[in-house]
């Protein structure tokens, strides 16, 4: 007998179409805006109404306190969060080699715990989005530990705020300055500025190169941007902890201009030149289009959506770079609705599919980031090539399905499906939930499919699943042993529809 599930939720015919949207729409919305449903969640959303669900997600613009409380055992996060006494930070740094693996574990596990447990699912999706947009490769930063404040204080507090603030925060972040070599950029050296950051700032962070290959800036603009940002560097402070520092002797000075004089440094000097330029870049029309296109690719489909990009870009500019209005605009669009109905419009990236499995299985994930279970999960992500902060290039993990529908990637997904479904480390599905007293295998599979978000699974496929464990749809549900149920769950996790969101 199922325990803890309201009788209503067990019924197949919970029809809550409060907003006039079908159940299929709410399934699509929940899959698109979240890391996937938890058992019973589809029914809840159907009752709530999909519009209310979307509104609620858009209103959750900060971390979910309940999920955050699961990070209590994160020792290094505590250090980075509390601005601990100098001694602690120094100890952390001096034992850097010992701590490197620990930092990586805490970073990876923090992302997993939050994605699995946070009810602020869209917020967590946006955190992942910006972690790619402003990616920094962990192993390319001198001090791994710098990545903790980068994630906690730069990316996350700004994930659903304004792009302007987010951009400025990353520009001041020691991790970013190191990753893209701005910390060694010396405009007054014989070699001149290092253009690495200036180039990516224009190409990847702001103005962008658009889908049709067009761009509004040229090499002279890259040089000017690099000049403007020269002097933005890092210094050792507080016991070898690296902090942002503006060093005038590295700065090139002006006058500088971008895009044929659309921006000039004017009377600004020193650090104010960079501040002024970042303001300009955040509010530029090309930045608006570039970000709108990326958000459409993230939430609508891999295809181009020129009309939606144009209107979303306008919303971005009209709202002074605020992110939430742009998302709201996209979710309300006809393009979003149409693409949501297509089964293969968005392929789940490996991190997303693993979290989707853990959510669907109702897994119990440890709060100890240094436990064997945490290491195992991090190992899965490494095998799937999608461990947070490990992408090697400044463009972030790709968001095109074609990047992930690869031979080795799919094999790994299939094996992960069976592992999570039947794992013995606390993340197995609960077989008792799917053995229905006096019920048939058909009903068990239907409930399981619904829990994992595969609503409307056809009879032919249900028959395949039953046959895979030597049963028929009309067989008694009681014949579904734990092993048979976890096998079926594994095949559902490996199902083509589960690969997409």
């Amino acid at each position: 007998m199922v325990v803890g599930v309201p009788a209503r939720a067990q019924s197949e015919d919970v029809t809550a179409v409060l907003s006039g949207l079908s159940k299929a729409d709410s399934t699509a919305a929940i899959k698109r805006l979240t890391f996937g449903p938890r058992p019973g969640q589809l029914a809840t959303v159907n009752k709530q109404g999909v519009d209310a669900f979307v509104d609620e997600q858009l209103s959750k613009t900060s971390p979910d306190p309940a999920a955050e409380s699961r990070l209590a055992q994160f020792r290094l996060f505590g250090v980075a969060r509390r601005r601990d006494p100098v001694d602690t930070v120094r100890a952390m740094h001096s034992r850097y080699m010992d701590q490197a693996a620990a930092v990586r574990m805490e970073l990876t596990h923090s992302n997993l715990l939050r994605a699995v447990y946070s009810d602020h699912q869209l917020y967590e999706m946006m955190c992942q989005f910006w972690m790619d947009h402003f990616t920094v490769q962990l192993v390319d930063v001198g001090h791994f530990a710098l990545m903790i404040p980068y994630q906690e204080k730069v990316i996350r507090p700004n994930a659903m705020g304004t792009f302007r603030n987010l951009l400025k925060a990353t520009a001041h972040a020691p991790s970013m300055l190191q990753y893209l070599d701005n910390h060694v950029s010396d405009a007054n050296s014989p070699e001149g500025v290092n253009e690495n950051y200036g180039r990516e700032l224009l190409e990847l962070h702001t103005l962008g190169i658009h889908g049709d290959g067009s761009q509004v800036y040229n090499e002279a603009d890259v040089y000017a941007a690099s000049q403007a940002m020269s002097g933005w560097t890092v210094e050792y402070a507080q016991g070898n902890w690296l902090e942002y520092k503006f060093l005038a002797r590295l700065h090139g000075g002006g006058p500088l201009s971008l895009l044929n004089g659309q921006w000039t440094s004017g009377s600004a000097s020193g650090k104010a030149v960079g501040d002024s330029m970042l303001d300009f870049l955040a509010g530029h029309e090309s930045t608006a289009r570039y970000l709108a296109a990326k958000l459409c690719r993230r939430f609508v489909s891999d295809d181009d959506h020129p009309a939606l990009v144009a209107s979303a870009a306008k919303v971005y500019l009209d709202n002074d770079t605020a992110i939430v209005p742009v998302l709201r605009h996209i979710f309300a669009s006809e393009e979003f609705r149409q693409a949501s109905a297509r089964p293969d419009a968005k392929v789940r990236k490996p991190f997303e599919i693993m979290v989707a499995m853990l959510r669907a299985a109702g897994s119990d994930i440890t709060g100890d980031p240094h436990s064997e279970q945490a290491k195992e999960l991090a190992g899965f992500l490494e095998e799937l090539n999608h461990r947070p902060w490990h992408w090697p290039t400044p463009d972030g993990y790709p968001d095109h399905g074609s990047s992930w529908l690869t031979t080795a990637g799919l094999v790994s997904r299939f094996n992960l499906a069976a592992t999570i479904a039947g794992g013995s480390d606390g993340y197995s599905v609960d077989p008792a939930r799917y053995r229905i007293d006096a019920g048939k295998v058909n009903g068990s599979i239907r409930r399981l499919a619904k829990d994992v978000g595969l609503i409307g699974l056809g009879t032919a496929h249900k028959r395949v699943l039953a046959a895979a464990v030597g049963l028929q749809l009309s067989s008694p549900s009681s014949e579904l042993t734990d092993e048979k149920l976890t096998t079926i769950a594994g095949l559902l996790f490996a199902h083509p529809r589960f690969q997409t969101r």
Binding site: P343, N385, T393, W404, T406, A408, V411, D425, A460, P496
Partner: protein, 421 residues
């Protein structure tokens, strides 16, 4: 506890094999699309990760400076105890060629005897000293990234081996694209590239009844959208690979290098469509305890011996690398002078090797000074005289049947080394 993570950790300790195929599945099992012609060699790239010391692989024993700067690490001259193997026309039965003045000044580490006895004498082993990449960062990460992508301009175009497969215009129904899930050398291009990580991993290993699960997945993936199509190809691939005997082939040493090369031989013999294998062996970052040049049991000597015996087994298994070109590469070489810990530090040029029926025997490179290592620097690196892309360019063009400018668009490969047959 799952075994998935254990395999990950195994890979993380420095061994990985990624085999690139241009096709997979039944179409290829029955395929006769690859005639044995000059431009259809298979390529095996062996990456020695960590910065393997080129002056131990190919010791320039003829130089006074070598022994002076490496008082303990220098490998003795041929004829001395544990001396270098001669790289001369005579030792190759007249099958080797040399730049002027090089013959008799440089040898091969004695651990390479299994290859010196065979491929070198057959004129199928090319030694490429002072080769590398024009990235002087001395950073593993930066140099590796440079190497894998064939230069910073290509980072977003993916790995150069993946591009090579993509550029090889083959009649294949295989259309999977861009692969971040594999070794960076083979990943990243929008290519018709399929990748097998290893025989062990390219399988359903986690379902209780794998054949039944595979059968179920076959039915679940019947359909025409992009997910179903990609999945169907992979499922067919798993079925094909499942029919392959993954056991260590006879003659291969029981170590990671032997195992990986045995798998490559197995895949090559089973699948005509598999044209490139990329292998990575770690542990070459010998800052200390490299082992005395006179010590056959020194750390690097033992590692080179594992490499050489494995390559010898692979060569014996493939009729002396008939229509196979093997390249042995590393991200950078090491400092000329030894440090105080019996090792060497990050430097510039390394020594690469190329072998197989498609290469000429001998020593090859651009711009050699009168002698291999110029002057006697108090401290320093051997500069990169030959960009590795020169060798790769020629092999792409002459042996692999790929337009090299499609692989290295920002490199001028017109200056040939004369390495390829």
């Amino acid at each position: 506890m799952s075994t998935l993570s254990r395999r990950t950790f195994l890979a993380g300790t420095g061994v990985g094999v990624a085999t690139v195929m241009t096709g997979l599945g039944t179409t290829l099992l029955t395929s006769a699309s690859f005639a044995q012609s000059d431009r259809n060699d298979r390529l095996v790239l062996v990456f020695l990760n960590g910065g393997a010391d080129g002056l131990t692989i190919a010791p320039p024993y003829g130089l006074d400076s070598y022994r002076k700067l490496r008082p303990t690490l220098a490998v003795p001259a041929p004829g001395e105890a544990h001396g270098a193997l001669e790289l001369t026309a005579a030792s190759s039965n007249g099958n080797a060629v040399f730049p002027t003045g090089i013959e008799g000044t440089i040898g091969l580490h004695p651990s390479f005897k299994p290859l010196h006895d065979t491929l070198w004498k057959q004129g199928r082993l090319a030694v490429l000293p002072m080769m590398g990449i024009p990235n002087l960062s001395r950073s593993h990460f930066s140099a590796e990234k440079w190497f894998h992508h064939g230069g910073p301009a290509n980072v977003r175009r993916g790995g150069w081996l993946g591009r090579a497969v993509e550029a090889k215009d083959v009649d294949s129904k295989y259309t999977s694209t861009y692969n971040p899930n594999a070794d960076p050398m083979v990943s990243g291009s929008p290519a018709s590239v399929g990748v097998v990580n290893s025989l062990d991993r390219f399988a359903l290993t986690r379902f209780n009844d794998n054949p039944t699960a595979l059968n179920a997945l076959t039915q679940l993936y019947a359909g025409t959208d992009r997910v179903q199509q990609s999945g169907s190809r992979v499922i067919q691939g798993i079925k094909d690979i499942a029919g392959v005997d993954a056991r260590l082939r006879s003659g291969y040493p029981r170590n990671k290098t032997g195992q990986a090369l045995s798998e490559v031989a197995t895949l090559f013999s089973a699948f005509d469509g598999i044209r490139i294998a990329a292998l990575r062996f770690g542990g070459w970052d010998h800052h200390s305890g490299m082992g005395a040049g006179t010590d056959p049991n020194g750390r690097m000597a033992v590692m080179l011996s594992q490499l050489a015996t494995s390559l010898r087994a692979f060569s014996d298994d493939t009729n002396g690398l008939e229509n196979i070109t093997v390249m042995v590469v590393t991200e950078f070489g090491r400092t000329i002078n030894e440090n105080g810990s019996g090792g060497t530090d990050h430097g510039q040029a390394g020594t690469y090797l190329a072998m197989g029926s498609g290469v000429k025997g001998g020593v090859f490179g651009h711009d050699y000074p009168d002698q291999l290592v110029l002057q006697e620097p108090e401290r320093g690196d051997s500069p990169v005289l030959t960009d590795f892309r020169s060798a790769a360019w020629e092999l792409m063009d002459r042996r692999f049947g790929v337009e090299p400018s499609a692989v290295f668009p920002d490199f001028d490969g017109s200056r040939q080394l004369g390495l390829a047959r």
